[in-house]
């Protein structure tokens, strides 16, 4: 995760500003979330370093349903529940799982040269830019909930572990 430190900082800063600009959270709440975020960054607990999770679960200052409504109604983003997707290893796509954790984003399918990518950080421009660069711009974006994404990344971790085990055998 350390290699993604700059991306984590940048994507969270942009997400925080976007949430305030769109009136989804107040500046006071963002200030508090920023403080907690920096504590996580400084303790090198990068997987916990998420302004979104802090606002949703620690501070309870953001309602995820409202955020999803905003993504759908205003940004016209399609949503996906990854629990219903048959996930595969990310290795053939040359995607590092730690990058997915760092950016709360996962490519969950690859169809005729286009990557289907789900993210909880769609409102953070650096995340979009970063993924579109590494996937060569051929991306179809979806939004997803934080719980759905976490479960999906854990499932992919299991898939990678199983691959490692079978390789050792």
């Amino acid at each position: 995760m350390q290699q993604h430190r700059a991306l984590i900082l940048r994507s969270n800063r942009f997400l925080g500003s976007a949430l305030v600009n769109k009136g989804l959270v107040s500046t006071t709440d963002l200030e508090e979330a920023n403080t907690r975020f920096m504590e996580a960054i400084q303790s090198s607990d990068l997987r916990r370093a998420s302004i979104l999770s802090t606002l949703l679960f620690d501070l309870k200052k953001l309602d995820e349903a409202k955020l999803i409504d905003y993504l759908v109604d205003e940004l016209k983003l399609g949503m996906v529940d990854l629990d219903f997707i048959e996930l595969r290893s990310l290795r053939p796509m040359n995607v590092d799982l730690s990058l997915c954790w760092a950016s709360s984003t996962v490519p969950f399918d690859h169809v005729e040269g286009t990557y289907l990518v789900a993210s909880c950080y769609y409102m953070s421009a650096p995340v979009i830019k970063y993924w579109e660069e590494i996937l060569d711009g051929r991306v179809l974006w979806y939004g997803t909930s934080t719980a759905s994404l976490s479960r999906a990344l854990e499932r992919i971790e299991e898939i990678h572990k199983a691959e490692d085990t079978s390789e050792e055998e």
Partner: protein, 450 residues
């Protein structure tokens, strides 16, 4: 009278569909399928808005837009297309497209955006028309419902900026003003102070030249003695600060160290000329400041985005300089002279505008400042010394290269110094050099033989 819309789409079916949509919404529509004909039609007749396809055989929608913007840049353009890459959409928006709609169309969104764009353009034209001869800045900002003097707010960008600052006036602990070189941050912060009626509200201004912890503390304590209940510390030029000053700035923002025990509410305003992300990449601001400054970040509009304001700002400067020079009468601009100010790009923003106006007044223009006097002052600042202009340009390029190499080497000063064959201390100084100082040529990076 219905608003006039020009529709351009080479697909006959889709063209007809668009025409029906707009006609049923009571617009007066001209629909064409050939871009060349559309440009001619646009030249011959007034339109309030253009709707164009992006992918056409003769020229792209972007090329068509460029052609019509040359004729009347104020007319908004909406782009409609079957499929566009995200990068293309961003590019189109940055080039001035007012809206991008992908097929299948959301008719309601398209009509809503159309109405918004026409209304915005109309407002802009109205405010431009009301920018009368008598504008001397005395009523600047009054139409907003609150006092605002640093911009007259006759243009959309400055009015939105003032409204945003006003809406954020009760920010809790920090605010970042991010702009280009030469902005008038101090005046802007004075406007923020004027939002409050209470005498218990105090602002202190910390300049990189003199600012240290002891000075900051003594200014805060002095404000407290004068009855301040809340003190806002304005850090006027974050980029010019040395490492120690940046540490103090972080402590101030986080109310830590010597600032923790103060019995007064503390807030911080950071003023930065430059792009925060680039500064972070170059290691000029640390992680803490980078995140803290993002909490409430406001972009300060450059003068080129506020062309309607610039003539009025020039007149305000004339008043200020005339007072300073104790002139018997305040010179006024001819209308055509004031229009000249609007046509400049003002690369160094307010600082450049002030220098130009000072030059005009120094030349004793009399009671009326003519078009010729302004033109001459502008030519002096632009052309009198080609060597200076070239030197400034090269120095600007030099810093750009340096920053690029800095990113390449992850900010490793010794590697950067090795790459350029220069001293590490010179590299250090140059990377800390604010854009303003680049022009003042206070720093020398290159060995003499360069």
């Amino acid at each position: 009278m219905p608003h006039r819309v020009l529709i351009l789409d080479d697909d006959a079916d889709f063209n007809s569909l668009l025409t029906d949509i707009f006609e049923q919404a009571d617009y007066n529509v001209t629909s064409l399928m050939d871009p060349i004909e559309a440009i001619e039609a646009f030249r011959d007749r007034e339109y309030d808005l253009i709707v164009t396809d992006h992918k056409m055989p003769e020229m792209t929608g972007a090329e068509f837009m460029k052609a019509v913007k040359k004729v009347r840049p104020e007319v908004p353009v909406i782009m409609v297309s079957g499929y566009l890459e995200n990068d293309t959409i961003r590019e189109l928006i940055s080039e001035g497209v007012g809206g991008v709609f992908l097929k299948p169309l959301n008719i309601f969104s398209l009509l809503k955006r159309t109405a918004e764009l026409i209304e915005e353009t109309q407002k802009l034209q109205d405010s431009s028309a009301s920018d009368g001869e008598g504008a001397d800045g005395e009523d600047a900002g009054k139409h907003l419902g609150f006092s605002f003097r640093s911009y007259p707010c006759k243009s959309g960008a400055s009015a939105s900026f003032a409204e945003r600052l006003y809406s954020l006036r009760n920010f809790i602990s920090m605010l970042s003003l991010i702009g280009e070189p030469g902005m008038h941050y101090r005046s802007i912060c004075e406007d923020i102070l004027n939002f409050y009626e209470s005498d218990a509200e105090h602002f202190i201004y910390l300049s990189p030249g003199t600012f240290d912890e002891a000075q900051a503390l003594s200014l805060i304590e002095a404000a407290q003695k004068e009855g301040a209940e809340r003190v806002t510390c304005v850090l006027l030029d974050l980029l010019s600060m040395n490492e120690a000053q940046r540490v103090i700035a972080t402590k101030l923002a986080k109310h830590e160290g010597a600032f923790e025990a103060l019995a007064v509410v503390l807030r911080t305003i950071f003023c930065v000329s430059g792009d925060l992300d680039s500064l972070f990449d170059e290691g000029l601001i640390d992680e803490n400041l980078y995140i803290l400054m993002g909490t409430t970040e406001v972009r300060v509009p450059p003068l080129r985005e506020c062309s309607v304001d610039v003539g009025i700002m020039a007149q305000q400067l004339v008043v200020e300089i005339a007072r300073e020079k104790s002139l018997a009468a305040v010179p006024r601009f001819e209308r055509s002279a004031r229009d000249l100010f609007r046509q400049q790009t003002w690369g160094r923003n307010y600082e450049e505008l002030r220098a130009t106006v000072r030059k005009i007044i120094d030349d004793n223009p009399g009671d009326m400042i003519t078009h010729a006097a302004v033109k001459s002052a502008l030519q002096v600042s632009e052309l009198a010394s080609p060597r200076d202009r070239l030197e400034s340009h090269l120095l600007g390029q030099q810093v750009d290269y340096l920053r690029a190499v800095s990113i390449l080497f992850n900010g490793d000063r010794s590697k950067i110094a090795g790459f350029f064959g220069a001293d590490e201390s010179a590299i250090e100084a140059k990377l800390k050099c604010p854009q303003d100082s680049i022009f003042s040529r206070e720093y020398t990076l290159w060995p003499d033989e360069y």
